[in-house]
């Protein structure tokens, strides 16, 4: 590797990301130097792959959203901002309790009706 190549190495990352501050002569050297052209190709490949990382989302933990909203609703500063979530959560719990109650009552009635039917048959 000659001195020109060494001087070029530090500028290659800028050249790869097409930033404006590429020193004069670097582009010209890369054009004629096989080794530096290869190095530039590696830079570009790395940058391309790094940019693609943003598009491939990392899957957050399944309960993260609920935890975030719950914690935000418990903080005095943000409680009002997520009050909609809190109301919906309370409504959901009320509906769940009501549904459980109704199911329980239904089950008891069925059992009682079954017993009454058994007695009549006897």
């Amino acid at each position: 590797m000659n001195r020109r190549c060494q001087a070029t190495i530090t500028a290659l990352a800028e050249l790869a990301s097409e930033a404006a501050e590429v020193p004069n002569g670097v582009s010209a050297h890369v054009e004629e130097c096989f080794r530096c052209r290869g190095e530039l190709a590696r830079h570009r490949k790395l940058l391309r792959r790094l940019r693609q990382l943003r598009e491939c989302g990392l899957e957050p933990p399944p309960r993260l959203l609920d935890q975030l909203l719950e914690n935000l609703s418990e903080s005095p500063e943000t409680a009002s901002a997520v009050s909609g979530w809190w109301r919906r959560r309370v409504n959901y719990l009320l509906v769940a309790v009501a549904a459980t109650g109704a199911a329980g009552t239904g089950a008891v009635l069925l059992v009682l009706r079954g017993r009454a039917g058994t007695r009549l048959a006897g």
Binding site: H43, G57, Q67, L68
Partner: protein
């Protein structure tokens, strides 16, 4: 458009719903740890809400949130390294499980991403954070420097070093 700047508070919950996955990704890549990433995202939303008046609409809401996450992650990592006095967890691989129609191509892509994820995770946190913010999330040097509490020159140096280390880990060292 979420109108945080006009005090419409209902928008905040919607903002959280729309952005939490993306912010988690950034926080995870900066901290290299799922638990820390969750804490950082939580802090970031609290900070975002407190400082919502500072959002002027010059940048997108996402960029504004990225900067807040960057700042929170930087503080979190510094605090963690001060408190624990141990080497930060740099070996956590970044896993991407997105489905694809072509299993063979997907296997190659997944393998490449795993290698890149492992190389990123093996960088020292101060280098990794700059590479993530600049090369993955495309934040300007000025914003990166401001949120990490360093000078622009230091941000550029860290970026250069981070990229060099990544290249070495992925493709080997350049022969002298």
């Amino acid at each position: 458009m979420l109108r945080l700047d006009q005090g419409e508070e209902w928008a905040f919950e919607e903002l959280v719903r729309r952005t939490y996955g993306d912010l988690y990704g950034l926080a995870f890549r900066m901290t290299g740890n799922a638990d820390d990433a969750c804490d950082v995202v939580q802090d970031a939303y609290l900070r975002a809400y407190k400082s919502r008046d500072t959002f002027r609409g010059e940048a997108t809401v996402t960029t504004w949130l990225y900067r807040i996450v960057a700042n929170c992650a930087s503080s979190h990592v510094s605090r963690r390294s001060r408190n624990r006095h141990q080497r930060l967890e740099d070996s956590t691989p970044v896993v991407d499980d997105r489905p694809s129609s072509d299993p063979e191509t997907m296997a190659d892509v997944a393998l490449e991403r795993r290698r890149l994820g492992a190389a990123m995770a093996s960088l020292p946190p101060r280098l990794r954070m700059v590479v993530v913010l600049k090369d993955v999330y495309d934040l300007p040097h000025e914003a990166i420097a401001a949120e990490l509490g360093i000078t622009e020159a230091a941000a550029k140096v860290r970026l250069h070093r981070g990229r060099r280390k990544l290249r070495e880990r992925l493709y080997g060292q350049r022969r002298q």
